[in-house]
Each structure stands twice: as C-alpha cells, then as structure tokens.
C-alpha cells in the first residue's frame, strides 16, 4: 500500500502516522429508510453548536437547507419524482416541483389532482474520503486525519485560505461568512473518542444513519442491497463504498435508489491529487520553456 499515497486503496490512519490505530469508523446512510425528519440536521447543530443558516425557503421542494455548507454538516435532500415503473428508471426525468402544498386533499378536486410520484430522501454528510482532497491541499495543516481515519478541521489553526473548498469533489466543506474559517462534519470526533455514537446517527429514528466500523458497515450494506434487490427494488445501489473508486472509498457511504447526481452527488468523483505528479511535471516543462525563452531572448549580442 506504500505506493498509494495519492490515489488508490489505503488504510488512511496508519498512513497518516497513527501507531496502533483503532479500526476505521464511518457512516452508512441507508436512504431507503430515510423519512426526511431532519432529526440528524438538528442533532448535529445542537451538539456541535453550529449556527443557523437563516430562514431560507428555496421554493423548489420541501428542502429548505439546500445543501451541505459551513453551517449544515448534515443535509437532508428531498427529491420529488413523478412515479414510473422501476424498469424505465433510466428515462425517469429529474426532480421536479409537484406544486405542493395545496389547499385541498389530493384527488378530491381538480385543483388538487392526485399524481403518482415518489419521494427520495437522503441525509448527506462529509464523506471522510480515504484520499481527501481538502486534507491534501490544506497549506496550514489545519485539516488532519484522526486515529479513526476521519478528516477534521482544527479551527484554531485554519486561516481561511479557502483552498479546501474547491478541492472537495463532493462540495462539502465551506467557509463560514462571518467567521472566515472552513467548517464541516467532524464525524463527532469529540463523541467517538469517548466511545459514543455521533449525534446524527444517535438521533436518527429509522436507523437510516448507521455508525460503526467501516468494514462491518460495508458488509451490512451489501446484505441490505441484496435484500432490497430480492424485494424487487432493482434500482438500489451503493455509492462511495468501493475502495477502488476515485477517492479510495468513502468513510461515509450511501445506499441510493437512483443515480448519484439526482441526489446532488458527483457520479464519478476523483481526488484531484491523483494528477498532482503529472501537474508538477507539466509545470516543470513550462518552467523550462520560460528559461529557454529568456536565454533565446538575451542570447543575441548587444548592439554597439
């Protein structure tokens, strides 16, 4: 695994220098049982003292948070989809606003027609990637790898350079406007160090958010997908569980019922550091071209 410092399967905590690291911990979020109650969002805010985002109704769906940000470390996505049989899932259009809430019961009057649709809900969170773009590019060492293999920002070190924000292939970490520093989910580093469950998983009433050792979660998730497939839910698939994916696998992965982009997730995220050696090489060639240009420009003899 020594050659996988920038890309590929890796156990991140020992790679970061932790001796006798405990097992890697993570989240498995099973969206098929999410009821969109937002208990995770609230529990996260309360435990971590995350400030509110202001009152912002987006007017597109029942989602009034919009996405992960410096002040939303868990975000419950609400996707309203016209219902279609699973076998035509590929042609199913993206999310759309269904015109709710309405003044009357669905189907009772023409104003409130009954439509066939489904709601997809997903509690999104920082992925705690094996190869974390944010961590790789942080110039202050403020972002660090914990003994549990998770990624945490040291807020007394962060100087708000903002590099981690475009470096995240999932668009998770963000700058808090009135504070200038970067913030994101810590996987409740303070709780898990004491053997407790992170606040969101603790508050989840349906066990949609499951916390535990990553290896065990991966086995549990595989069994759940098989069970769903057996029940005829052919569109169930795992996202972020594969150690061979572009970020070396996520510490927080998901069971989805549609394509990742429908939930606002990238379909094939790759950590940008994978190309870093090639980037420096190109920069070296360009730098050499600069030197050559200067030599050529000054090579001719000075006119008397």
């Amino acid at each position: 695994m020594g050659s996988n410092r920038l890309y590929g399967p890796l156990d991140p905590a020992p790679d970061a220098g932790w001796v006798h690291a405990p097992p890697r911990m993570g989240f498995f979020t099973d969206t098929s049982v999410c009821i969109g109650c937002k208990a995770c969002e609230v529990a996260c805010k309360e435990w971590n003292h995350v400030p509110d985002d202001g009152f912002d109704l987006l007017g597109r769906s029942y989602d009034n948070t919009g996405g992960l940000s410096a002040n939303s470390w868990r975000h419950v996505a609400f996707i309203e989809q016209p219902g279609t049989p699973p076998d035509t899932a590929a042609e199913r259009p993206g999310p759309q606003f269904l015109g709710m809430p309405q003044r009357d019961l669905p189907g009772r009057t023409p104003d409130a027609p009954r439509t066939d649709f489904r709601w997809l809900m997903m509690s999104n969170v920082c992925k705690h990637c094996t190869h974390a773009g944010c961590l790789d590019v942080c110039p202050t060492g403020s972002l660090f790898r914990t003994e549990f293999g998770t990624v945490v920002v040291q807020e007394d070190i962060c100087n708000g350079c903002g590099y981690c924000i475009p470096a995240c292939p999932y668009g998770v970490i963000d700058q808090r406007a009135d504070d200038g520093r970067a913030w994101k989910c810590t996987l409740c580093y303070d709780r898990i160090g004491d053997g407790q469950t992170p606040a969101c998983a603790k508050a989840c009433p349906t066990e949609s958010i499951q916390y535990g050792e990553l290896d065990e979660l991966r086995e549990r998730a595989a069994r759940r997908v098989t069970a769903l497939h057996d029940q005829g839910v052919a569109e169930a698939r795992l996202y972020g569980n594969d150690p061979d994916d572009g970020v070396g696998g996520d510490g927080a992965f998901f069971l989805l019922l549609d394509e990742p982009e429908v939930y606002g997730l990238p379909p094939d995220p790759v950590v940008s550091t994978r190309d870093l050696p090639a980037m420096w090489k190109q920069a070296g060639v360009a730098a050499a071209a600069m030197v050559a240009s200067v030599l050529v420009a000054f090579a001719t003899r000075r006119r008397p």
Binding site: I165, S272, A278, M290, V294, T300
Partner: protein
Amino acid sequence: MVPPAQFRSYYGRPIVKAPVWRHDIAAYLFTGGLAAGSALLAAGGQATGRPALRRAGRLSALGALGASTYFLINDLGRPDRFHHMLRVAKPTSPMSMGTWILTAFGAAASTAAVAEAAPLLPTRGPLGPARRLLPPVGTAGGYGAAALAPALATYTAVLLADTATPSWHAAYPELPFVFAGSALASGAGVGLIAAPCAQAGPARRLAVLGAALELYGAHRVETTKGILSEPYAQGRPGRLLRAGRVLTALGVAGGLLGRRSRVVSALSGLSLLGASVLTRFGIFEGGVASARDPKYTVVPQRERLAQRRPEP
C-alpha cells in the same frame, strides 16, 4: 451546433463548491507572474550589461511582490493568521509549496531591488562600505530570484488545477504554459515601457516568445477540453480571454514594428501588461463558472463512467 447536454441534477444546484476566492486571487495570479517575468528580465539585463532592463526589472519585481503579498493575505478569511501557512511544508499542497517559493523569491528579489539604491548612497562616511557591498549582493539576489521565478510563475497553474473545479482541473496539462507565457509577456512589457530602444531588443523577443507560449496554451484550453472548454468561451470569461488575446497581438505587433519609437514601445508594453491581467481574470472566472453549473460536473463524469464500462 452542439446539442444541449442531457443530464440530471438536484434541482439544478451545483455539486462542487465554487472557490470562495475573491478577485484578489485573480490579481495575485497576475502580480505573481509579473514579479517572475520582471525578475527574469532583470537577470537577463544584469548578465548582458543592460542596466535599464536590470533596474526596471528589479523594481517592478519588488512592486509586484509587494502587491502579491497584499492580495494573498487580504483574500484569507483570517488575514491575521497568515503566518500559519509557514508552520508546515506540504508537498501535496500547491499553496504550501507556493508560499515557500514566494517567501524565498521575495527575499532574493527584495535584496536585488534594494541594491539598486547603491548609487544614491554617499561614497564616504558610515554608508560608504554599503555602497560598495550592495551591487554584488544585489547581483546574487537577482540571479537567485531569477532561479526561483519559473517556479513562481507556474506553480499557480498547479494551484488552480489541483481542485475539483471542472474547467481548471481539465486544463492542467496546458495551464502552466498559459501562465508561464503570460508571465514572460508581462515581464517583457515592463522592459518595453522602461528601457530605451537601444536596450529593449531582448524584451521584444521575450514578448514574442511569451505570447507564443500563452496563445498556444490558451488555444488548447479553449478548444480541446470538450464541454469543459465552454466556460472559457462564453460570457464574461470568454470576453476577458478574447480581449486578452487582442491586446497580446497588439503588444507583440507594436513591440516588433515600433522598434525606433519610445512611445509605441511603451504602449506595446502597456498592452502586454493589460493582456496578462485579462488572461488571468478570464482563466479564473472560467473555472468559477464551471463550478457553478452542475452540468460541468455531471456530464464529463458520466462520459468517463461510460468509457470505463462499455455496453455489453
């Protein structure tokens, strides 16, 4: 006409976050390049006995360096914590590497610029030895700055490319050439403005070579990245890059044709400096635009997946 891309998204909301960097960073890309180009011009002037190029290059490098430092610190969310950049040296972070390059370059370039003050010092008295010592120290500083200048000019390309910002990352093979060329052209611009026509020959040749590198790189970025070239061609980024190209062409043409006119040369120099500003802002804003639209994240990644798993 390319048909509109078919893709799905979460209510059209962006997937990756656009950089929170303000225009300070775009301005830094220019001033950093200008500092590098000027330092190279100064070193050339130093080596070939062209004092006007040396002096202009050293002073311009110092000025650009000061502006760079201001822009970098001003853009931080917590400017008072700037020094935290200097607590680690991290090879996986282009910003960390760049901070160290800029620091080392700054020390060398400042020494070289301060040495230009030697003729102003009195020959006798306590400052007399300084008057004699400064020029050789300045020579060492000038060559030191020139040695670091290519890294200073090109690391910023790696800085932008090492992100999930779609159009920056896709441009990683050519972005260093755009920035290297733009830095040389802006250094040549300083030479055309400051040097008498008799000494400005190398600046003219440097302008041609720099412009060629920059135009080659920008052309590749704008045409070979498929859908990810779009943000560089449309809207404000497109207008900035096109205007930059026109100014580059004017600057090169003026530099070559106005060989005997101080005024035409100076205007060409200004034009090259303006071109470098516009190019940097165009590249910066093109990347930001690509992050704001989920299309540029989803469509290329879908294509990549389709290529990896061919239809059975």
